[in-house]
């Protein structure tokens, strides 16, 4: 596989801040509370939805990285053996 504009591959480095932001947003911070019981009573409902939330969390990362890969591909114009590029 070769690229017509290999300099476009630099766009892939944007993946680093995307990953950093994703993990920063998803990190768990410690928060002291005077009475955990009250919180436990109100987050029961939320726990039921936590599986869906986890999927959504990872799906957003995959979609963002996929969008970056497509953008990089559009800029660097890869030539893949077996595929013919139609030039205008």
């Amino acid at each position: 596989m070769s690229f017509e504009h290999p300099e476009g591959l630099w766009l892939l480095t944007l993946g680093v801040p995307i990953l950093a932001f994703h993990f920063y947003k998803g990190r768990i911070r410690r928060m002291p509370v005077p009475m955990l019981l009250f919180w436990e009573q109100v987050i029961v409902e939320e726990e039921r939805q936590s599986a869906l939330k986890r999927i959504r969390h990872w799906a957003s990362l995959v979609i963002t990285l996929l969008a970056l890969a497509l953008l990089t591909s559009a800029v660097s114009l890869p030539n893949v053996r077996g595929f013919t590029r139609i030039k205008a």
């Binding site: 998803g26 911070r29 928060m31 002291p32 509370v33 005077p34 009250f38 919180w39 987050i43 939330k53």
Partner: protein, 290 residues
């Protein structure tokens, strides 16, 4: 901890309210419904042999021809016991510092009224810090003792106020300063105090962060007292649900106080001390202007 002269003057103009007669040992400045010897007139009573002749009202005798004696209210001191919650849950949102300031201010009000003052801390047991202070001269002793207090341990009011409660002299007026966070339930503990015939005032400490928490995102919530933790994502919906739960808890404590005819005041830790004492505690029926 230090109070300025103007604030001390404000405190000196206040009096701790006792909702029922709490017999004290010494005369002081508190008027009680009991009859005694002060300048404050209370009522007339028909003369009976043995009454002191100097109390006969001769003007009434001149008009009605019957002998009546004047009665006066008794002025007595009471034993004021400040029970300050020093459990770790108080170490949140400035509650502990606010509670200490309040304990010192209420103590000073008691001392300036010649009441006998004792300061106790409690978590799962009651610890005497200062006992039987009298007179304004003891205020520095009180302030330095309050200043040195540190939050520690868990709350268990039933155990603390049960039979192991150190004997409080006479029938104390108990000022209970706490956040009422007790996993075993605060009501049994307060009932223990009432069973021992103390006059009890409830002072409920809350912080702004408890009333309206602002945090958003993923958190590991750590219980300050038990050390237990739970992961949760705090979203506006979760915070609203928590707010409702907390308000329900506050209303429940207030209802408990009302149903047992106890004075109750909810004090926000970030209010100024003067506002806390003069406005909130006065509205709650804990202090009054002399």
């Amino acid at each position: 901890m230090a109070f300025d002269a103007a604030f001390l003057q404000t405190l000196e103009a206040l009096n701790l309210l006792a909702r029922r007669t709490l017999a004290g040992d010494d005369r002081a400045e508190r008027l009680t419904p009991r009859k005694g010897a002060s300048l404050e007139f209370a009522d007339y009573r028909r003369y009976t042999p043995g009454d002191e002749i100097r109390y006969i009202d001769w003007n009434v005798y001149a008009r009605h021809g019957s002998l009546f004696v004047k009665e006066f209210t008794a002025e007595e001191n009471v034993h004021v016991s400040v029970l300050l919650d020093t459990s770790r849950s108080m170490d949140f949102g400035g509650k502990f510092q606010a509670a200490k300031e309040l304990a010192a201010a209420l103590g000073y009000i008691g001392l300036s009224n010649y009441d006998t003052l004792s300061l106790f801390t409690f978590g799962s047991e009651v610890r005497p810090i200062k006992k039987f202070l009298r007179g304004k001269g003891r205020v520095f002793e009180l302030l330095s003792a309050v200043d040195a207090l540190q939050p520690e341990g868990q709350t268990d009011m039933k155990r603390a106020f049960g039979p192991s409660l150190p004997r409080l002299r006479g029938r104390s007026l108990v000022l209970l300063i706490t956040d009422f966070y007790d996993l075993a339930g605060y009501s049994d503990g307060v009932r223990e105090l009432l069973a021992q015939r103390f006059g009890v005032h409830l002072i409920h400490m809350v912080s702004r962060e408890e009333v309206t928490p602002k945090a958003r995102g993923r958190f590991s919530l750590l219980d300050l007292e038990t050390g237990k933790s739970k992961d949760a994502t705090l979203m506006p919906r979760t915070l609203e649900a928590y707010g409702r739960r907390f308000r329900a808890f506050c209303a429940e404590v207030e209802d408990f106080g009302r149903s047992h005819e106890l004075a109750y005041a909810r004090v926000l830790s970030d209010d100024t001390l003067e506002h806390r004492v003069v406005e909130i505690l006065r509205a709650g029926g804990i202090v009054e202007h002399r």
